[in-house]
């Protein structure tokens, strides 16, 4: 199935734009995030800590709704879903 990924800020630079990823039927949010991280070294660094955990400050959204980090492992995606990933900026 296909899931659309909208990336913002540094993650968008790392990925190079929006993505449509092919993931197995019933894939979870975590599975999708891993697939996004595998698209490039920069994308992996932008999304994951060295420990392999998703970076806590990255805002995860699924079809326009906020997803908590703890839910990512159990939230299953469907064909045509949209996931948005936003690493906030901090300067002024």
């Amino acid at each position: 199935m296909q899931v659309r990924v909208r990336a913002f800020a540094r993650l968008r630079e790392a990925i190079g734009g929006d993505l449509t990823l092919e993931v197995p039927e019933g894939a979870t949010m975590s599975r999708l995030l891993a697939a996004v991280g595998e698209t490039s070294e920069q994308a992996g660094e932008a999304l994951f800590e060295e420990s392999g955990e998703i970076r806590g400050y990255v805002i995860l959204m699924h079809n326009g709704r906020r997803v908590r980090r703890a839910e990512a492992g159990t939230l299953t995606l469907a064909d045509g879903d949209e996931v948005a990933l936003f690493p906030p900026v901090a300067g002024g």
């Binding site: 800020a9 906020r66 948005a84 906030p88 900026v89 901090a90 300067g91 002024g92």
Partner: protein
């Protein structure tokens, strides 16, 4: 009542939202925390719009590396307190308003005092440590807070109405990591700062739909602006059941 001078000066915007709204602007007190990349455009446009009292809070002095984006400061201001440098330009822009310059870095001890009496708070700071303090002060005093932040060509903004909308910690429960040098082009804080100033004017005059429960995201590389829905988190550590 507006004076003849005011009726003339603000004619183009009175034509937009009326004399009563202009009076509200004249009676408003806005505290802008940060007189840097965001604070400069926010303050300049709020002064021009006729906000009665603009208070600037910042502890830094002007540095040459600030000048690509902190547009109220000039080469001659290097070494001066940012709030003094900025206040001088604002008074020249609009001699009829009150500009208060407070040279201080906002912290847990002085935050309530510095924000005291504000009708509206503007987050023009450059780090999440200070932002979280400001968010809690806004929640405690029940004063709306307009958040903005930038990096590179990217920016974000949202408006927080205590008790009604997502607060800063609902939206950003974990702060992004600190960077020693944050790369940025001046147009990014220019754009985000003006989004913040625009929200301030809308809030005070009661115009339009506020940027509440939405995070505006600007991508200067792609020249696109998007809003992402955000919502109050029940277990938020600042405004919800997880309060501490």
């Amino acid at each position: 009542m507006l004076t003849d001078w005011e009726l003339e000066r603000y004619r183009r915007q009175i034509a937009l939202f009326g004399e009563e709204a202009q009076e509200r602007l004249a009676n408003a007190r806005v505290v802008i925390v940060g007189a840097g990349g965001l604070g400069c455009p926010v303050a300049l446009y709020l002064a021009a719009a006729g906000i009665g009292e603009v208070r600037l809070v910042d502890g830094d002095v002007v540095d040459r590396t600030n000048l690509n984006r902190q547009v109220l400061h000039t080469d001659r201001d290097i070494g001066r307190a940012k709030v003094e440098s900025a206040a001088g330009k604002l008074r020249a822009q609009n001699p009829e308003i009150t500009v208060v310059a407070t040279r201080a870095t906002l912290d847990e001890e002085n935050a309530a005092l510095l924000a005291g009496g504000a009708d509206l708070l503007v987050d023009a700071t450059d780090n999440f440590g200070v932002r979280y303090i400001l968010n809690r002060v806004a929640l405690g005093a029940r004063v709306p807070l307009i958040h903005g932040a930038v990096r590179g060509f990217d920016g974000q903004a949202t408006m927080i109405i205590p008790g009604r909308t997502a607060c800063l910690e609902c939206i950003f429960p974990v702060a992004p990591p600190r960077e020693d040098v944050i790369p940025v082009v001046g147009t990014t804080p220019g754009i985000i700062g003006l989004v913040q100033a625009n929200e301030a004017i809308k809030y005070i005059t009661g115009t339009g739909d506020l940027l509440t429960n939405r995070l505006l995201v600007w991508d200067g590389r792609a020249a696109t602006m998007t809003t992402l829905p955000v919502e109050r988190q029940e277990d938020c550590k600042a405004c919800g059941s997880g309060r501490c």
